[in-house]
Amino acid sequence: MTHHAPPANGAQRMSGAEIFLRSLDAEGVEVVFGHPGGAVIKIYDEMARIQPNFKHVLVRHEQGGAHAAEGYAKATGKVGTVLVTSGPGATNTVTGIADAYMDSVPIVVFTGQVPTQLIGNDAFQECDTIGITRSITKHSFLVRDVRDLAQAVKKAYHIARTGRPGPVVVDLPKDVLLAETEFEYPKEVNLRGYRFKARGDDAKIQRAAAMIAEADKPLFYVGGGAVGADAADVLTRIARTARIPVTTTLHGLGAFPEDDELSVGMLGMHGTWYANMAVQNADLLIAVGARFDDRVTGKLESWAPHAKIVHIDIDPSSISKNVYVDCAIVGDVRDALMRLEPLAGACRTEAWLAQVQAWKAECPLAYEQGDGRLRAQYVLERLRRHTKGEAIVVTDVGQHQMWAAQYFQFLHARTHITSGGLGTMGFCFPAAMGAAFGRPDKTVVSISGDGGFVMNAQELSVAAAHGLPIKVVIINNKFLGMVRQWQELFHDERFSHTDLSDTNPDFVKLAEAHHCVGLRAETPDEVDGVIREAWAVSDRPAVMEFRVAKEEMVFPMVPAGASTDEMITKRLTPNAFV
């Protein structure tokens, strides 16, 4: 039921397309990643006519547009915006929407739709966008009346941004965009079914403080929810005051500075050995905006066997979903930590911290060096030295992603962006482009493998056209490296369809064909020179191809479904061939 209030005096009559554009301006949208088509042609026409305040970036594939909006959202903390046409335009965004849903990224995707009277008629470029995206959106709207359009835009941004963030789809039939009505952007949203608990219970926060005070071996386990809630500063203060070590998930990287002695880096399948040792021996886990997923816990029954668990999360359906939680604080993570801070004094953790330091010394992250062969880990270490933890690092999915997580040492929130939950190859470069639009003050480094980079390489020319000086790193081992690693470890070295040497492009030429700078390094000696050359480029992306050893594997590793205690810590590269 919608009530169409009569417009206030002075409200202007205009087309749905113009209302849409003015609504985005009213919402403070800075950049829209879009691609035109028949169903949204009126929007593009009005865009040329009225020149809205936001920047429109013409992407070359709608999937790239969706990932760019994700990268923008993750780098800035604002909502990312996508605008595409009906049918294939909409379906091409589906991977990006699913990715945003898994990783709780606030984006709004506006899709064109065939005119309302043709919906369900198998019209040209028609698909049931709302139906297709229902299970991968936080919410969606099909706008059937132009008088509901501004309210739908307002609601979409509100829903995407608040509570546990996520993607929202707004489907816009062509006739609604053509119809006219008076425009007034609503000041408030009316969503009686939408409620989230912003403020955790006082009693629970006091109980958590008491549990922390009693613990001998406490450990912070920090996920992406802490970054999303901008809670890194207060988390860092509590950990340092209370002397509690911190491990983060993949998405939690940067929530706590990894150069701090209290940091044990990332936990889970490819986490550090010492982080996983800390989890297995801790008597209290304080989970902050994390969801105990299978890549973190491994074999569930033997994970964190001695720990009581405090869980702070905005989403009540995350509580006790996999692991029993002794004290659940449902509410905004930042708010809960701010109220926990005055209650958390120094803990008696000296013996525990000494144990953690001993584990760090016993089995640090390591790889083979000095044999003249180029390895991904070396490239990432050199990049870390060069950027000093100040760049925004965006990664794709696979071995390079895990090495970047292990070796980059993240110091600040929102400086590590990756596709975690869905594990979308091809995420990286467009997301880096989105981050570069959102944070022009920061150096943005895009790190992909050769497999994933090709999946959305078309966006290179978009970044070049906008003069974005993105540093594009391709870790090329001529293989789908992570699949190859599983084939080597668990499938008797049957390297079925993972060899990319016959189908990889020449990445230097690929870069140049897209108006970017192309560079290549094949030995460790060449790495610093290539990095320096790339950083000297200021008006377009610089693509660096690093040809690395293909046999290298990511360690430590908890094999899928194995207990965290059964971590494989090391396997040296065979010297047979490059």
Partner: protein, 192 residues
């Protein structure tokens, strides 16, 4: 909703690993659940609710939807069978839907449920009285009659409907239409 009263997967796996039995009180067994959902009376809202059950592999035994005293709000009654732990999780996820105003698992409460059934049977002069006698016992009504068939309407809890259908089988039922359950929490309780 944040307090859990069912075992988590980790607890279940640990118990199994240690060879401990998981008792019926620990709610890992499959039970019938009647869930009442208040939701926006809007296009797609019903779909979202049903989708959540489908996505978790639940077979919905019946779903009924209708307007409430407020025409902008619909009430759904869902009858399903599943592990309490997963049902509780689905209920939390239902609460997360923006179109959903309220979710109530009636199974944990005292509640009344009713279902309506229309049933068409052939008759002849020799069994007509017998049929009507049975119908009377079940407090049903004849809502349609032809020279050789009668259509009955009965209402009641699903068990009563099942019993009536069982009684009618030997006459050769031609057609059955069941409404699915509607249910409501009892307002007043007078102790045990």
């Amino acid at each position: 909703m944040s307090e859990q009263n069912t075992l988590t997967p980790q607890q279940i796996l640990r118990k199994k690993a240690q060879g401990e039995a998981i008792g019926p009180g620990e709610q890992t067994h499959r039970h019938r659940h009647i869930i009442a959902v208040l939701l926006e009376n809007s296009i797609g809202a019903l779909n979202r609710v049903v989708n959540l059950f489908a996505a978790r592999g639940f077979n919905l035994e019946s779903v009924t939807v209708g307007e409430t005293d407020d025409p902008s709000i619909s009430r759904m009654t869902i009858a399903t069978t599943g592990e309490s732990r997963i049902i509780a999780q689905v209920n939390r996820q239902l609460n997360r839907l923006i179109d959903v105003l309220e979710v109530e698992d009636l199974t944990s409460e005292e509640y009344v449920e009713r279902e309506l059934c229309l049933l068409k049977v052939p008759y002849a002069s020799d069994n007509r009285v017998e049929l009507l006698d049975t119908l009377k016992i079940f407090q049903g009504k004849v809502v349609d009659v032809t020279t050789n068939t009668m259509t009955f309407e009965i209402t009641g809890p699903a068990k009563k409907i099942n019993a009536f259908i069982g009684m009618m089988k030997r006459y050769g039922v031609e057609e059955i239409a069941r409404s699915g359950r509607v249910a409501m929490k009892r307002a007043l309780l007078f102790g045990d």
